[in-house]
Symmetry: C2
Subunit: 368 residues, 2 copies
Amino acid sequence: MNKVAIVGTGETKFSKNDEDVEQLLLESANNCINSIKNCELRDIEGVLVSTNSNSNYMGAILSEMTDIQPKISHSIEHLCSSGTNAIIAAYSYISSGLADVILVSGVDSATNPGQVLKWDISRGDLEHPIFWATMLTKNHKRKFHTTEEELAIVSAKNHKHAMDNPHAYSNEPKTISEIMNSKQITEDLRILDCSRSCSGSSSIILASEEKAKKISECPIWIKGIGQKTTSASFTKNNLDEINSTRIASENALKMGKITSEQIDVAEVHDAFSVCELMALSEIGLTTNENSGEFVRNLFNTENRMINPRGGLIGAGHPLGATGISQTIEIANQLQEKCDKRQISNAKTGLIQNMSAAGTSSSVMVLQN
Amino acid sequence: MNKVAIVGTGETKFSKNDEDVEQLLLESANNCINSIKNCELRDIEGVLVSTNSNSNYMGAILSEMTDIQPKISHSIEHLCSSGTNAIIAAYSYISSGLADVILVSGVDSATNPGQVLKWDISRGDLEHPIFWATMLTKNHKRKFHTTEEELAIVSAKNHKHAMDNPHAYSNEPKTISEIMNSKQITEDLRILDCSRSCSGSSSIILASEEKAKKISECPIWIKGIGQKTTSASFTKNNLDEINSTRIASENALKMGKITSEQIDVAEVHDAFSVCELMALSEIGLTTNENSGEFVRNLFNTENRMINPRGGLIGAGHPLGATGISQTIEIANQLQEKCDKRQISNAKTGLIQNMSAAGTSSSVMVLQN
């Protein structure tokens, strides 16, 4: 298996405006291409697009707009984890030897069609993600004694981090009290417990070992990959766990020969506050019982280890871009390029992304 | 690079009825799973879906319906070549070592949204594929002296082959005269020069060398892969050639250390009759000038070497399934499982698929 590294990154601002997906893609792709040197457009052998948009042939469209004529090009869709899955696809094309340099660009608009899974009729009228999120939240409070304040701290922490992320959707601080008193949308969910679907695009360039060393002074290596799909229907889930994240995380750490204690920084999928607590438990950084206290300590000590770019709650959630934006943050942290939000001396980082109530998860471990 | 083989195949009937894509997927996937032995559902580590459908999360949906809990799962879209691109993605996951056994299922319904590329505004009112096809046809007739009868022979041959394919859309013979006198839709195109968008699904299982030898008595090896995207807009094309097919084909043959003379059987993308003639030239089996005569000879000698399952014109063109169905035909030919349409002693086969007026192509070379 050939080694694969991240060598370039580029993003757009994430915003609430409904923007043209092709233009967003072009902007982040150009920012990404301009971030690298010693690499011509003709060296880029793959253009993958991750999106939930209904537009067709986006791989070829982005290729033409950027003046790239790749070997490999297509779109990838898997709801919220489309972006991480596209990066893993690019990894495998390079690792298998079919390509040396691949651009992966993710995008969605604020009105993208991936927010509700129509097929999952087991949800009945409760098809919107807030309904599985409220069930997970109720269960977490009852079973693990998580308090409303601890849930609010997840959101307060991530909003705070987002203030130092120039691409983030939200640049306003939110106090614990503001969050706990924000608009109630279900018995257990407030509006500020939720990430927001928005418009945005993120791009990343992956390269083989030989190319990576030419293109980047500090390539970031993808050391471990884990993925798991347990179902598509929410009602097949156990409310106590995100089984797919646990399996994906174990496999990624095993492949990278890394323990969870070595993780210096992580981006986890906080579509809703409770998801961050559960993800941290499944990755092995804490337990569900202690997860509220774990996050409280991070917040109180201003430790940015978890979701330094602001997570989905603070940075916004343009579905097809999210997994790529998470990966960019970890790569930039390991390269010490994160300015105000930089974590000192980070050597090992993890990305956890998931789809549709955690019925599917993708995890990657990166090292510099 | 680890070796990868095709070990199982399954299809549905291709039909003009607008059918439910999830049910079609399930039918071909089950037929495929039932075609293999010594492989449990838990051994299937990837479920990829190729489709132009606007349905989301199809990889997870098909996983749940088939009771598979894979590592890797997502959808792939690239218009007409979605299916071949999904197979190549599966190849790379296996070749890189991320998975050992992957199910790839393609599907589209007769009313799929991939038939017109709205983005390509360079076509103006002429956005439907018949307009680029008529320009290619006019050019082929003028420049290479191809006759209307030779174009009709492509369709007559492929309709004839389809009669022996139980999954084909068309099971009726069409004479050269019938084709030449069928409904005129542009100056240079008759309705029987065109493939038909239809409903259908095709599934294939790929495996690593070790697994392939356990699962199949006659695994079919993917020896060469070539892909190229030159643009997304038709008006960037040169009417004389399908440049993307030439490059993809050269690369596939080079990777497989195979010459075009070794090809015993090929499935090529005949969305329109002229496409078959041009593809055969780009692959190196003939030249554009001689392509009409080449196909006439095949027809007169009842040689089924090109498009034995009936091509897109005879078998139908459910976009996301087409590339998989083409690959199944070549695999089955190399396994001598094609009954009435079997070519004797075929050792080497080629699949050529393309999207959007040949702005993108994918080619694979298989051997038994």
